[in-house]
Symmetry: C2
Subunit: 332 residues, 2 copies
């Protein structure tokens, strides 16, 4: 690494874990650090753990390197320009000036980004969407989030909320969604949806392996638990996961009809665990639901970056911030 | 009008009628001409009728004015760059070099545009979406089409098909759609959907006025016939139209979740006939189906230009073509 080059840290600040990654300005990974998010749901303890992870990853990247900037992704509404976390359900942030505090701690500019948007941005800059102009990212986990790329840039919409693809209604009157509606993509194809369905199957004896591990505790039905139950022969769990993949395909078809993207990247814990076979099922359902003229127009790709997508996107925001106003850059 | 200023003709070439409008370069309407589209489904007779309408509207605009360009909207797939109509279901076009033929006839550049895209563009440049950066247009007629505005420009997608909002699936497994799927917005909220539903109501005696006018002939259930039947007390027709408005609202909610637009314009024959009351029903359903953070973010507006939206958009394409390459402009 050139002597005068700076490093950039991208952090995925999640409700259960913190992943901090140090990159050079070409997005080469120099070091990664993981930590658990404190359980107290108290902003100051979360910030302390976050700062500690950033400090450690900078140290691990190598001695004496200048920090160009920090980008942090947060699961909740933000004011990006002011660096304020408006609210998070689990970490105790409320109109919290996280950007300013981090910039003060590290003597370098700090930027915030929404977690899903950061993930899509990471895939765009360094993953499956590299070089794409018009694309969509869909991330399947506890919920389903998304992001839209238009003309090679993240499209944020009028109030910064574009890409809430999990709340497209595909089956009005169907499964209840956390948002209060019925039949949203998220209520049909998220890990939560799969787990609810699988627990229902367990109740009628069609998922004994799942029942022995998770009982009827939704939180214990992690992607790996669902996967292992299928491997153990749980036909009910297989049905639940296949059904979710088919619904995901309906959601992808809706996105193709509206946006006609050249590519869609699909990621998130479930997809990472179940892999290409799961995605193929979704693609087949998508193709079944496209009008003739749109068949074959959109590539559907697995996430390339996996867990690194979000920190990569967060670091990109920091790198671009530094490029836009280099005077703001400060060394430690 | 200044002596050296040119006029531009925008034409809505539809399956049943041709509407040609002459504009000055500021989009002021100078003259309009209507004609019936020949029934023979024969490209050369359609082109003859189209050319005659253009000739007449140029004449009506005033003697001795120079023609800057012609824009024609066509209901079917196009190659815009080459001015080729790929295919139309009713007018007999198949890989037809309409742009070149019109340019030869009139000694001025000629441009083609998709009809729905032209309508959205007309509203953007001179109607309800004027000044909007991120917006959507939804046109309800026999089918439902749409267009997307991003950063003040029409967004066309990877293969020129963005905005097929009528084929978003809102109720998988629901009403059959012409595209082969079930539960598309178009199958639930188009005039065709209303008419099918209303004829079903007539079959059980709940739409006697409609039955006396249209029997069970879908084509006779025009917007005005549906409207008059409700005025005559047909409760079954009112139910069918209200139901369609509610489904339209679900479709609008999906678009808000995906695109977070600042405004949506809704137009087309049905909406023009039923007006703000119909739209209010759709808006109320939309608001019911939005997640909390998106409530109130998108204005939903009635089309301002009505029948003039499409010719206005087509003329805009011609005006912009002339601005981009003024050397191509030719006088008659």
């Amino acid at each position: 690494m050139a002597k005068d080059e700076r490093i950039y840290v991208g952090v995925d600040l999640g409700g259960t874990k913190i992943l901090a990654v140090a990159f050079d300005s070409k997005l080469k990974v120099l070091a990664t650090e993981k930590a658990k998010t404190p359980r107290e749901a108290n902003a100051s303890s979360v910030v302390a753990a976050l700062a500690e992870a950033v400090r450690r990853v900078i140290e691990a990247a190598g001695p004496g390197l200048a920090l160009g900037g920090v980008g942090v992704s947060v699961p909740g509404p933000l004011d990006r320009a002011k660096g304020i976390v408006r609210y998070t359900p689990n970490m105790g942030f409320k109109d919290y000036k996280l950007g300013q505090e981090l910039a003060g701690m590290f003597g370098a500019p700090a930027y915030l980004e929404n977690d899903v948007q950061a993930g899509v941005y990471g895939e765009l800059r360094a993953g499956a969407l590299r070089g794409k102009l018009n694309a969509v990212g869909v991330f399947v986990g506890t919920g389903i989030g998304g992001g839209i790329v238009i003309d090679g840039k993240l499209y944020r919409g009028a109030t910064g909320s574009a890409g809430e693809v999990g709340h497209m209604i595909l089956h009005e009157g169907g499964a209840a969604c956390g948002c209060g509606n019925y039949g949203c993509l998220e209520a049909l194809a998220s890990r939560t949806a799969m787990a609810k369905d699988a627990i229902g199957q367990a109740a009628t004896g069609k998922a004994p392996a799942l029942y022995s591990i998770a009982g009827s505790d939704l939180r214990k039905c992690r992607s790996s638990v669902l996967f292992d139950s299928i491997e153990s022969g749980d036909k009910g769990v297989k049905k639940a996961v296949d059904r979710a993949a088919a619904w995901l395909g309906v959601g992808l078809a809706n996105l193709v009809h509206v946006l006609n993207p050249e590519a869609i990247v699909v990621g998130g814990g479930v997809v990472t665990r179940f892999g290409q076979k799961f995605l193929d099922r979704a693609i087949s359902s998508m193709e079944d639901h496209l009008m003739p003229g749109l068949a074959g127009t959109a590539q559907v790709l697995l996430s390339e970056l996996g867990d690194l997508a979000v920190p990569t996107g967060a670091a990109c925001v920091a790198i671009e911030g530094a490029e836009a106003s280099p005077a703001k850059g400060a060394t430690r």
